[in-house]
């Protein structure tokens, strides 16, 4: 399935979302939609509010005003437990600094996401191994994050994000801490995922990543959407 033939179902809807931290305004009345199968890249200078947007969509932070709907669920109506369960079912997250648990092997880091949903350890490890295999790091499954390269760590992180088959994959500067070659690998990975129907919301400073992977680019300035454009993928 590709973005061209995806249904028009709205996965994410933001309506007048505002976020204040004391006196400063991180998001100022942002409204936008992301449809199934889209790959949306959010760009803008540091402090423009793009990471805040990602946190709002993930339910890690709450807006000061406005509403956020994911698959029709209003995040504002959920308590902390509800948000945690929502993240488990709907969201996969990839971070700039990977955020793998240092005490767990690559396999257990991936399996952990499945085990939190109640999947048995055996089932979770089986699925984790499949994902690691698909992402080309199965041979490092018993290694700890400290012994992996940056690119390998990020692929393990992507595998973990995909463990529960999320409807929305959020990536916060996924190539920001990687060398060029590893960054390329991660870009290809995200592109492949979107091509098989994974909805993506990627926050990045890297224009190459946006051009390569995104179907739509949203540019932020001072907490607002400055411009939006549909992209033709270069790859």
């Amino acid at each position: 399935m590709t973005s061209e033939n995806s249904s028009e179902r709205v996965v994410v809807r933001l309506d007048g979302v505002r976020k204040e931290y004391g006196q400063s305004v991180a998001l100022d009345g942002v409204s936008m939609e992301i449809r199934t199968g889209e790959a949306v890249a959010v760009m803008g200078p540091s402090g423009c509010g793009k990471s805040t947007l990602l946190n709002m969509v993930a339910g890690l932070d709450r807006p000061t005003a406005g509403t956020i709907n994911i698959h029709g669920d209003d995040l504002g109506g959920m308590n902390e437990t509800g948000l945690a369960l929502f993240r488990r079912r709907r969201i996969g997250m990839v971070f700039q600094f990977f955020n793998l648990l240092d005490d767990l092997t690559a396999l257990d880091n991936v399996a952990l996401a499945g085990q939190l949903t109640g999947t048995s350890a055996r089932q979770a490890r089986k699925r984790a191994l499949e994902l690691l295999d698909e992402l080309g790091v199965a041979d490092r499954r018993n290694d700890y994050p400290a012994t992996l390269s940056g690119g390998q760590r990020q692929r393990v992180a992507v595998a973990r994000a995909l463990m529960n088959k999320p409807s929305l994959l959020l990536a916060d500067e996924p190539t920001g801490a990687l060398d060029r070659q590893s960054g390329e690998q991660v870009m290809n990975l995200l592109l492949d995922l979107n091509r098989i129907g994974q909805t993506l919301l990627v926050v990045t400073h890297d224009p190459r990543l946006a051009e390569r992977c995104a179907t739509r680019l949203v540019e932020f300035e001072d907490g607002r959407i400055a411009r939006e454009k549909v992209l033709e993928r270069t790859a």
Binding site: L60, A84, R87, L101, D103, L104, D108, L116, P145
Partner: protein, 776 residues
């Protein structure tokens, strides 16, 4: 202001919570140690002061009148080593006949002495005056403590020969040289049997010195003329036994407190060093020398430690005073100005911070060794914990993932876990020891008060104290009490003064009626319970003082009638007492009402009986009967139990703070991991569950290990405390461990851990997750 001071101050400010924990831990352990050392130091001071004030006799000697003359006895004062003397004074033993005041047990050792003062044994007359003419007597009594009954002047002491002596004064002597004094002229009429001489020696600090002094003074006297001697050191030891009881268990609390404090301080500092790698790197890159960095960390812990220590020392000194008062209550000694010696708080003020700094030095030296670059990169690079195979095993288990992750956490930092474990373990040890201590002391108190089985004690009124004389005699009183509504059982108990051949007099307690109310069997240390009229039980104090053993036969004289009895049991009691049932008294055929005896009726009422109404009914039956509710907890028990409860709460709180501190360190270090887990969908409850589980496991192990240690400490310390109190504790009093109690105490470790972990665990669910996820 130096850079080290500035950096340490800002570090203290950044770690407010841990600073408070260190201050509290040090405060509590310092206070406990000061109390223990203060009591140890002060135990004999009131005696020393009172003894010096009275110029007490280092030795009191009694000589046989028939074997040695007054001149020969006087000559002993001129021997080498004798610094001062008093005497010779004639003395005799006076039995008390009816008409004598009832509060004196009799027979009395009466000494003929012209004045209270002198160069040795300046007797303190605290009520009335000294005897100045025949017919007068001064009684040796310690002043009553507040609330005690007053002693009346003008009461009579009547001898079996019919001599009536009027009490004109009450006095007491630290040297315990007599039960009463009369004029030398009166003594002649009482037919003295011995001569008393009191000595102060130039050297008398040990028993050997005193023995040598006596030996030198009495050398050359006819054989057998010296019939008895008494050393002041024996009395001193006796007096010190009150506060001495507190010392062993206070030392246990103090030592446990210090170990817990050391563990927690070491944990805090190692945690601060590990979590402060970046801080250390920054300090070094700014130009701090390794020594200055160590200085920052040591200063950081010294500030709260010194503060906690100072407050603990003050608190300890303040808490020692009421304990001393309680321990010496009733001894008649002036306690004003008896304070803890200056060296005790000074030792604490120097020792505790030093100990704290030593505990902190080892982890702080790690900061010394780290290079700046190493420290900065170590703060951000991924690192693996320890014992990862355990994590892997747990990850594959069927346990909920939040639980298996929690169980694996303690292994990531084994040294920190070990120190936390020791804190919890000692907390459980303390709780176990204190529970055993309270149970034993409670049993001890019940046993010490032989009336504890009764809810009411009824005593005939004593006219000499202004009370109404009873109309009913002994059998009538028992009958009336049994007839009252609500009476379940009545035990009649009479204290009778008896003489024991070749030994000092003693009070014997005879009883009849519903003897099940009297649980004497539970107090048997050795031997078996009385099975016949020729048998008596004796307190351990009685046997110790006279060097007697179970099976020894004695001649007991009651009202002039002798009876041969066998000691069949030693009973746990500090009092000098003999116990026998009514059969022993009946066999003697003596009318004890004609002796200076004292009856009491121990009444057990049926459940639901109104005690006040019952008391009124007793008074209505005979206005000369005084009924009072029986309180079975003495000041001593209350002091020990409340003190141990307070100290236990303090140490358990400290152990909980140790867990709290560890969880705070762990969650701070794992802030990013916790945020990751929350981003993966771990609910707040699962986060709390995981964090609490990590400490509950430590608590469970601490409980399992701390429990036997507490039991062992109880087993080891209680006999030592008993020895200090001059009591042999029956095995029953050490067998206070029952399954439900042990189970509860076993859970104490988990409780400490869960309570210590819960609040910091809950606060982690409120952290800024998004921010933590973005941090490198």
């Amino acid at each position: 202001m130096s850079a080290v001071w500035k950096a340490a101050r800002s570090a203290v400010r950044r770690r407010r919570l841990q600073t408070v924990v260190i201050a509290l831990v040090v405060l509590l352990s310092t206070a406990t140690m000061v109390i223990a050392m203060g009591l140890l130091d002060s135990a004999s001071r009131p005696f020393d002061r009172a003894f010096d004030k009275q110029r007490g006799a280092h030795a009191v000697a009694a000589f046989d009148l028939d074997k040695v003359s007054a001149d020969q006895v006087s000559a002993t004062a001129r021997r080498s080593g004798v610094e001062a003397h008093a005497g010779p004074f004639d003395q005799t033993s006076v039995s008390l006949a009816p008409g004598s005041v009832s509060f004196l047990p009799g027979p009395l050792t009466v000494v003929g002495r012209g004045e209270a003062g002198g160069s040795v044994d300046r007797v303190h007359v605290w009520n009335g005056r000294w005897a100045t003419k025949p017919g007068e007597i001064v009684v040796n009594q310690t002043p009553p403590f507040s609330g005690g009954a007053p002693f009346p002047l003008g009461g009579k002491v009547v001898t079996p020969q019919g001599t009536k002596l009027t009490i004109v004064g009450y006095a007491y002597t630290m040297s315990r040289t007599a039960d009463a004094w009369v004029t030398p002229e009166q003594m002649k009429a009482l037919h003295p049997t011995a001569r008393q001489m009191m000595y102060r020696f130039s050297s008398a600090s040990t028993e050997a010195d005193v023995a040598q002094g006596i030996g030198q003074a009495t050398a050359g006297l006819p054989k057998g003329s010296l019939v008895a001697t008494q050393s002041y050191l024996t009395i001193k030891k006796d007096v010190a036994s009150g506060p001495g009881v507190y010392v062993p268990f206070l030392m246990v609390f103090g030592v446990l407190g210090v170990i817990v404090a050391v563990m927690i301080v070491a944990n805090v500092i190692s945690g601060a060093v590990v979590s402060g790698f970046r801080h250390i790197g920054v300090l070094k890159s700014l130009g701090f020398t390794p020594r200055q960095v160590v200085g920052v960390y040591l200063l950081m812990v010294s500030l709260p430690a010194v503060l906690g220590c100072a407050l603990g020392a003050v608190g300890g000194v303040l808490a020692t005073d009421p304990l001393l008062t309680s321990a010496f209550q009733g001894t008649g000694m002036d306690l004003s100005g008896v304070a803890v010696s200056w060296w005790v708080p000074v030792a604490a003020l120097v020792g505790m911070p030093l100990l704290v700094v030593l505990a902190a030095a080892l982890p702080a030296l790690r900061a010394h060794r780290l290079s700046a670059a190493e420290a900065i990169s170590a703060g951000s690079a991924p690192h693996r914990g320890r014992a990862l195979w355990i994590q892997r095993r747990l990850g594959g288990s069927s346990l909920p993932r939040s639980v298996s992750l929690g169980l694996g956490l303690p292994f990531a930092r084994p040294a920190r876990t070990a120190m936390t474990l020791v804190a919890v373990l000692l907390g459980v040890t303390t709780a176990t020891f204190a529970t055993g201590l309270a149970s034993t002391v409670n049993e001890f108190g019940k046993a010490g008060d032989h009336t504890s089985g009764a809810q009411l004690i009824v005593q005939p009124g004593q006219p000499q104290f202004g009370e109404t004389a009873p109309k009913l005699d002994d059998p009538q009183t028992e009958k009336v009490l049994r007839s009252l509504k609500g009476t379940e059982s009545v035990t009649v108990d009479v204290h009778v003064p008896v003489s024991i051949t070749s030994s000092k007099k003693v009070v014997a307690e005879f009883w009849r009626g519903d003897t099940s109310a009297r649980d004497f069997r539970d107090q048997i240390v050795k031997g078996h319970w009385i099975e016949g009229p020729g048998q008596v039980a004796a307190s351990t104090a009685f046997l110790r003082d006279r060097g007697l053993q179970i099976g020894d036969r004695l001649t007991m004289e009651v009202g002039g009638k002798p009876a041969r009895v066998t000691v069949v049991a030693s009973l746990m009691s500090q009092r000098d007492l003999l116990y026998a049932d009514w059969r022993a008294l009946s066999a003697l055929d003596v009318d004890v009402t004609k002796l200076n005896s004292r009856f009491q009726y121990l009444v057990q009422v049926s459940p639901g009986t109104n005690i006040a109404q019952y008391t009124d009914a007793v008074r209505a039956a005979d206005p000369g009967l005084y009924a009072r509710p029986n309180s079975d907890s003495s000041t001593f028990e209350a002091s020990v139990i409340s003190l141990s409860v307070v100290l236990t709460l303090m140490l358990v709180t400290v152990a909980g703070l140790g867990v709290f501190n560890t969880v705070v360190l762990n969650t701070r270090e794992r802030r990013r991991d916790l945020a990751t887990l929350q981003s993966l969908g771990m609910t707040p409850r699962q986060v709390i569950g995981m964090t609490v589980t990590s400490m509950a496991a430590v608590g469970a192990i601490g409980g399992v290990l701390g429990l036997p240690l507490g039991v062992l400490a109880h087993r080891a310390i209680m006999p030592i405390a008993g020895e200090a109190a001059k009591v042999d504790l029956p095995a029953r009093m050490l067998d206070v461990w029952h399954a439900p109690v042990l189970l509860l105490l076993g859970l104490a470790g988990i409780t400490i851990a869960v309570l210590g972990a819960f609040f910091p665990a809950r606060s982690t669910t409120r952290m800024a997750t998004a921010e933590a996820l973005r941090s490198e």
